[in-house]
Amino acid sequence: MDIRLEAISHSYKEFEVLRDITLDIPAGKIVCIVGPSGCGKSTLLRLIGGLERPGSGRILQVGAPPENCLNPLTYIFQDFALLPWRSVRGNISLVLEDHRIRGAEAQRIIDDVLARTKLTDFAAALPKQLSGGMKQRVAIARALAVNPAVMLMDEPLSALDSQTRELLMDDLVSLWTRQPFTAVYVTHNLHEAVRLGHSIVVLSRRPGRICEIVQIDTPLEARQMGDPDLDMKQKYLWQLMRDEARAADAELLNV
C-alpha cells in the first residue's frame, strides 16, 4: 500500500504551516522528513494519519492494505504514549481488544511482537519501571501488533539519550531487514535520517515546502557509523537546511 499526498496545504488560523506538498510514499521504504523546527513536519504526519484534516489537497491510499492488517496507519509517538496504569502486555493488548482479539490469539501476537522487540522478559512491567529506550520499544511492539501498512513515526528517538538512540536505530534497521515495512519518519536529527531513510524529504521553514528529496541507495543494513558517503549526504543535508534553520530560529513565536 502506497500513500500519495497531492498538493497539501494547511494553516492554523492565519498561519500557513504547509504549502503545496506533493509526495509519494512507496511501500516497503522508509521516507524521512527533516526540516527546521516549526516547519510543519509533525503536522504533515498528523495529516497523513488522519488525526488532522488538511486545509486543502488530498491524501490518498493507493492499493489495499495487506490482509490481517488491523490498523493501516499506525503512529509511534515521541513521548511513547503508553498507558501508565497498564503493564507492557496490557499496553499491547489495548490495541487488540477493540478488534475483538482476545485470549490465545492475542497472547500469540503479543508474545511475537515482544520477542521481535526483545521485551519478552518485561511483559509484566509497568511503564514507570522502564527506561526511555525500553518504553519506546514497547511503543514499537504495540505498533507492530496491529500489523500496520505504514508506520508514522513522529521523532520517535528525540526523547532518548544518544546512546539509546543508536541502539534503537540498530533495532529498527534489523526489524526492517527482517521484514521491510513502510514508514514516514519525522525527525530533526540528520544522523537518524541518513541512517534510516531510503529517501529524505527536506522541508523549508514555515510555510513548509519541499526543498529537495535526497535518495540514499546504500542498503540500510550496510550503513555504518563513519561511512564517508553517508557523512557526505548528512553534510549536504545540513547545507540545505542551515540557513533555513537559522532563520527559523530567529523568528518570533506566535503560538
Binding site: L73, T74, D79, A81, L94, V146
Partner: protein, 275 residues
Amino acid sequence: MSDVSLTPPAAGAAPTRTIAFRGGGFAPRSHRWIGMAVFVVLILIAEWGTRTGWITALTLPRPSDVLKTFGELYSSGLLLKHLGPSLSRLAVGAALGASVGVCVGILIGLFSYIRSGLVPLVAALFPIPKIALLPLFVIWFGIGEGSKYALIAFGTFTPTVVATYGAVDNVDRTLIRMGQSFGLSWFSIVRKIVLPGAMPGILSGLRISLAIAIILLVAAEMLGAEYGIGAYILQAGSLYDLERLFAGVVILSLLGVLVSTVIGAIERRVLGWRT
C-alpha cells in the same frame, strides 16, 4: 584575572572549609506515629487541665468522662442504634451524590455543550449552604429518610462534579490521540484511557466530598430524626450535655479518619502505577 593558575596555593595560605549543605527540606514525609502522638498529647493536656481545674468543666468536658459516656453508650446498645441509621444515610446519600457527580463530571469533561450548560449551574449550586435547603428537601422528599439522603447527596454532588471534570481535563491528550490513532472506539477511549487517567483526581475529590457528607450528616438529622449520630449530638447540644456532645463528635471524627483511610487504601491499590 590573567594569572589564574591550576596549581593549588601553598598550604596554609588560603583558609579551607567544607561547603555548607543548603539543599534539603520541602519534601514532607508522613511519620506514622507522630499524628497519634499529637492526639494523645492534646487529650492528656485536656485531662490534666480539667483535673487540676485550670480548665473549668463548662469550657471543656473531661476526656475520661467523655470516654465513660462513650462506654455507657456502647453498653446500653444505643451506640449501634444511633450509628446504624447514620451510616446508612451516609452510605446511600454519599453513594448517590458521588456516583451522579462522577457521571456528570465526566460528561462535562467530554462534551462542549454539556460543559457550557452545566459549569455555570454547578458554580451557582456549589456555594449554597445545603443546610439552608433542608426545609425544601423535607417538602420535596418527605420528613423521612428521603430528605436526608437528598441533602447528603446534594452536598457531595457539587464538589465531586468539580473535581471530576478537572480530572478529566487533566488526562494526557497524547494518550487520547494515541487511542484514536489505533482506531479505538469512542467508548473504549473513555473507559480505558479517560477514566483511569482521571482516577487520581476523582479519588482526591472524593476525599473532600465524603468529608462534606459527614458534615452534612448532622445537618440532615436536624429534622425528623430520632436516632442517628447527628440527632444524638444535636440533642446533647441543646441540653448542654458536653460529655455526650463530645462523645458524638469523636464518633464523627473517627468516621472521617476511617473514610480517609479507606480512600488511602483504594489509592494505593488502584493508583500503584503512579510514579
